[in-house]
Symmetry: C2
Subunit: 391 residues, 2 copies
């Protein structure tokens, strides 16, 4: 058994790095650049008007200009402008080579073909110079950058169709337990509805891990071993729930041993989620989560999520960590560290009732997991605690 801090260190020290893949820019949203992206063009690619107005062959001592042409956005028109001449121009349009200023139309008095500037202006005004945002051949975004909606827009604006990002992992979710039946069937005595697969699929989707398979295996040693072996061969991450404890029908541990998975740790001195197993084999991370759903979800958030983020270049980061005052006194019952489902009200955390590892009711309405280290036995109202934000 390890403690929480040791488990986190072991996981972070044993990170698995996935390869990169080439994706359409829009498909790479939320992923991380695996190589620098170089701009294929100057941006803007021509001197561009920033306003609706007039482009002039401007001389500081001259206020009135003959309007001899028009340049709309998208037009290749590059009219010759002699001294004292100008062109009607619009936002985004190409500024004629002969123009050295764009004056917005609100500052122009136009009478027939003569435009008179009504304010004091300077050369260069309202012209976005070719290449001023980025020059062709320079680095647009560096390796390690998260592809946000803004980055999708920026790269698309540079004419880039595809980028190289860290691969999303292929995940196998396997639930065990003879007591489990699928929603839609009637419960017989002793049976419960299987919910871990839907819950873990939901949390994977929430974090954009969309490449997962779902399987259920009965409490049978050979079937369990064969399914895990095949999952390891075909996946980057194998997540099991249940079957990892000490009961006669818990076959996961024995199967992992026979398959020669290297154990990183088994059991963490925490509540909920003490019976968690994590191992590695040939570039695959294997997580044996507890069967109790609140324990399984806590373990996923605290250990598997950061390990998976590390795989895809996001660093060993899971839920957002904050420091927050506790709204009430809290006394721990045992010596294990605790992750407590909590509400946040007016900047204070309040521990909810129903903290059992079997119960998701409080988890469903909690906003944070409050962490009480194993070395802390009680926390007074207003003391700061570490919490991990859920929403």
């Amino acid at each position: 058994m390890v403690n929480v801090e040791e488990a986190l260190k072991i996981l972070s020290d044993n990170g698995i790095n996935l390869l990169s893949e080439r994706l359409k820019v829009s498909a790479a949203l939320e992923q991380v650049l695996a190589v620098d992206v170089v701009s294929p063009i100057d941006m803007p690619s021509f001197n561009q008007s920033a306003m609706d107005g007039y482009a002039f062959n401007f001389h500081p001592d001259q206020k009135s200009y003959n309007v001899v042409a028009e340049v709309a956005a998208g037009s290749a028109n590059n009219p010759k402008l002699n001294k004292g001449e100008g062109a009607r121009i619009f936002t985004g349009a190409m500024v004629p080579d002969d123009a050295n200023i764009v004056v917005q139309q609100e500052w122009i008095d136009r009478v027939a073909d003569v435009a008179t500037i009504t304010e004091s202006v300077q050369i260069g005004r309202n012209i976005r110079l070719q290449g001023e945002q980025i020059k062709k051949g320079s680095i647009a975004l560096e390796k390690g950058t998260l592809i946000t909606p803004a980055a999708v827009g920026f790269l698309t604006g540079l004419g880039i169709a595809e980028i190289e990002v860290y691969q999303n992992p292929k995940i196998a979710l396997i639930t065990t337990g003879n007591e489990l039946v699928k929603v839609g069937q009637d419960l017989k005595p002793g049976q419960i509805y299987e919910s871990n697969s839907e819950m873990l699929a939901a949390v994977l989707s929430h974090y954009n891990f969309n490449d997962y398979s779902l399987d259920t295996v009965a409490d049978n040693y050979d079937a369990t071993r064969n399914m895990i072996r095949s999952a390891i061969d075909n996946s980057d991450v194998v997540i099991l729930t249940g079957g990892i404890s000490v009961g006669d029908y818990d076959f996961v541990g024995k199967a992992l041993q026979e398959i020669a998975v290297s154990e990183l740790f088994y059991k963490i001195n925490q509540k909920p989620g003490k019976p968690i197993y994590v191992g590695k084999k040939e570039g695959t991370l294997i997580a044996g989560l507890p069967g109790n759903p609140a324990a399984a979800l806590t373990c996923f958030y605290m250990y598997i999520l950061p390990a998976m983020h590390q795989m895809i270049g996001k660093g060993f980061n899971g839920l957002e960590k904050i420091e927050i005052p506790l709204g009430e006194n809290y006394t721990k019952k045992g010596s294990r560290a605790e992750f407590l489902k909590a509400k946040i009200v007016d900047g204070e955390a309040f521990v909810l009732g129903m903290q059992s590892s079997a119960m998701l009711r409080s988890f469903s309405v909690s906003q944070a997991l409050v962490f009480i280290p194993s070395t802390t036995s009680s926390v007074a109202k207003n003391d700061l605690v570490t919490a991990y934000k859920l929403t």
Copy 2:
């Protein structure tokens, strides 16, 4: 023209409420319950063992018991246990009616068929009583609850297959501008790559607004009006970019007038994003965003995102709002309010370069939008500012 605070109030006061729809629980992730959900079962639905161990017909004065049966998880076995008898039992299994305790196996000394309790224990130990998490017919989750992964698990565990949530809006994204060409084509003089549609599609996906169409319309009045009219007829939200300013080729404003859209506001005293139009018609929200991409995205985050969240029961909430010290002195150039792309380093916000409304480069690497109100002309290093978190 309105100021930022007025625009937010007008939007929040003019919220549109969408109808609800019945979805599979897993498909309702991130959506909001439109009605209370009542539990169809007791949970647990039987007295359930919380441990691997032994269930006894226990009497405080007796330490040793004959093991006469076994109950595995999922089994309907309910063995008769006389005084002084017990059954081997496993986590999740149904506790026999004749048993009043489960003792974990670590506290049992088993010799042949006799199990002796080695610690002091009390009646009721390790039994999860039928209905202790929730009783059949009581409210499992209230109207207004966000469906998180934990909620998906909780509802699935209750055997619930479908729930009633607020509908996600149907969105029409329309980009305007003759200067725009699609990635993959060569840029001719005066042309730029169209990136607003990819950027806005990405930000919609990021917030799970996945029901959108993408269209482009040329700078032509009839085409613009017809496309907007059809989009309003078929969508809950219409988002346009470009064509809303004062140029001769800006047809969006005129079209909205002819279609008799009710204007909520036009122009906000802010930078970037001054030329934004928001209106309503027959339950459809219409947003005319600026064509410059950084302005369009800022306006989406600050105004359209909270309005869309309000539609689906999440309240008028957009980016997470924080108070944070500024890392350097900042002086505003004009009188408009500003939303500034910023990095957050060690708990301080630093305003990035390249704040032009045409530039997404800084937006791509920024972590927050720092808000400088119109009434503030400068902020000193270490002064607290309001910021909206992007990542």
